[in-house]
């Protein structure tokens, strides 16, 4: 025991700290460098750079996600994020300046337009695709081949307590009715409630809501007496898991398809899908390029994403509007 050994102890302990400190620092720096250098090599580079933040409707998300992915493959300098906060949530973020593009499965409401205007944001509207809001049932459901708007209204009206198919129509069997659908922040929800119940937002509340239509698919698939609704693309994607129902809007039973949606025969559940942006964002090179990319390739993109493509007129309107935006 003496000054010498405590000196050694001091040195050993200091060495230990230094060793651990150095190892940790090396590990952390190494991983950060590694991360920063991370693979930026995917696809080509076109010189465009920037961030595009997209958010909004879960109905439109598959389409925009596909477009974003393919766009980034050709323009690796641009970073695009696609969030799914629902149509309403998307607008809120857009008006707050948190996003550049807002996806919506219904037109923007006046109140939302005003809220944006109050913050100095003027919205630009683009129709990106058409959609037939589809009503689906379990694949083993063989009685609900065609439902009228009155049937649907009976099931979904606010205060409705229908819990069995035979209450909807006496010809239907005795089967428990379980409902799945969009959550209240969804444009799909707004559109469906407006078309079926006559008022946006009016609905019975004891069903399984979800902002994520995938969950509705799983839900309907798991229950023989289930009924749900979502955009056409989800029906086509999951045609083995759920069965589409023909809707009688007054002129006979119509099944949702490209033709019936584009011609408007599938009523009242045909609708256009929108994206909204603001002039400042659209003027940016990378955003304009993204929009141009979309409209140039909208045929391929909408087919792959199983949406109903734009009619020739709609495409023309969109391209004109886009050209009218002057780059900054």
């Amino acid at each position: 025991m003496g000054i010498a050994s405590s000196d050694v102890l001091l040195r050993v302990n200091t060495m230990k700290t230094r060793l651990v400190g150095r190892t940790l620092a090396l590990a952390i720096t190494g991983s950060l460098i590694f991360a920063a250098c991370g693979s930026d090599d995917s696809g080509g580079s076109s010189g465009l750079a920037g961030n595009i933040r997209i958010d909004g409707s879960s109905t439109v998300t598959p389409l925009m996600a596909l477009a974003a992915e393919d766009f980034q493959a050709e323009n690796s300098g641009v970073k695009v994020t696609v969030g799914t906060s629902g149509t309403g949530g998307g607008f809120e973020k857009f008006c707050n300046g948190e996003t550049d593009v807002s996806m919506a499965s219904r037109a923007i409401k006046d109140s939302e337009k005003e809220a944006c205007a109050a913050k100095g944001i003027e919205t630009l509207e683009f129709v990106v695709a058409n959609d037939g809001l589809s009503v689906v049932v379990h694949p083993d459901n063989d009685w609900a081949k065609c439902l009228t708007v009155a049937h649907l209204n009976k099931m979904w009206a606010p205060g409705s307590t229908l819990s069995n198919w035979n209450q909807v129509d006496p010809s239907f069997p005795d089967q428990k009715l379980t409902l799945f659908g969009a959550g209240s922040d969804s444009g799909t929800f707004d559109y469906f409630t407006d078309a079926i119940n006559g008022e946006e937002g009016a609905t019975r509340t004891d069903y399984n809501p979800s902002e994520d239509d995938n969950i509705t698919v799983s839900g309907v698939n798991g229950d023989k007496g289930a009924l749900g609704y979502f955009g056409l693309s989800y029906l086509l994607e999951n045609s083995t898991k759920v069965k589409g129902v023909e809707v009688d809007g007054g002129d006979g039973c119509v099944a949702p398809s490209t033709e019936t949606v584009q011609s408007g025969a599938y009523k009242p559940l045909s609708r256009p899908l929108f994206i909204y942006t603001k002039a400042e964002a659209a003027a940016r090179d990378e955003v304009k390029a993204f929009f141009e990319y979309y409209f140039e390739n909208q045929d391929a993109l909408t087919s792959e994403a199983l949406f109903v493509p734009l009619t020739a007129e709609q495409l023309e309107t969109a391209t004109e509007e886009l050209d009218a935006i002057e780059s900054a």
């Binding site: 799914t84 906060s85 629902g86 309403g88 949530g89 809120e92 973020k93 707050n96 606010p158 379980t178 959550g183 209240s184 922040d185 937002g201 009016a202 609905t203 509340t205 004891d206 069903y207 399984n208 809501p209 979800s210 902002e211 994520d212 969950i215 799983s218 839900g219 698939n221 798991g222 229950d223």
Partner: protein
Amino acid sequence: MTPSNDAPASFDAALSDLRPSASLKRRRNVERVIKAVLGAMATLSVGVTIAIAFALVRPAVEFFGEVSPKEFLTGTTWAPLFKPAQFGVLPLVTGTFLVMAIAVVVAVPCGLAAAFFLSEYASPRLRAVLKPVLEILAGIPTVVFGFFALYFVNPEITQRFWPFGDVGTFSALSAGLVVGIMILPMMVSLAEDAMSAVPDSLREGALALAATKREMCTKVIFPAALSGIVAATVLAFSRAIGETTIVLLAAGSNPQLTGNPGQGVQTMASFIGFAGIGDQPTGSTGYKTIFAVGALLFVLTFVLNIVSARIVRRFRQEYE
């Protein structure tokens, strides 16, 4: 007397050399600064709690200005994001307790039994193998458990073997079972700690009086370790109440006032997660529900944690 650096000529002069030199003063200041910095870091944690409380309280108070507490606490329909919005939180509360009850029914007996085994029956070698395995279970992320619940437990086990009615795609039962498995390691390790704190003299005394090992466990160790075991149970409750991801994935998002475990439910925590994904407009009543329910959840777990800490403290006194 002024300090001097010359060789001390007298006792007084020597004494003056003991006064702090400039470098020592500097050293002391450094020490004071360090102490202040560390103290500030320590108060940071208190700051976090205050921030949580503040983050929850203000919007919650605003919420209760718009929705009466009576409606909130006694209403039986939870539809805050619809029009007309209804704010009865009872379905969330019953959903939470349903999932928690199932989880506790799984975790507490199983955990106690496993703890008894590890503490009293297992050989040291077996313990050395089993404990790390339980640690693995403890380290598995909740999203993995959620995936397991939705795509394995629900179709292969719950839907097949539940004898009391149909089980849907989403069920409180599957979610509760897996939440129970998730909290099992915690229950085992806390119960085992409680058991190992029981003095050996009690064990040996029981065995000497011709008790079998089982009787020693049930009649001596269990009562002796009871407060620690109860504290562990309370903590298990609290963990089960707060679980979000497993419930979101496996129990669905339909807030129903039901006691049927075969149905999907929504708990307080899973509602917050659900609403957070959907992202409510800031300042809307829907946004504030996140905070109101969050406040309720925080208060519940806070109370449970305090209760368990009290029990543990009382338990510690008995053997010291």
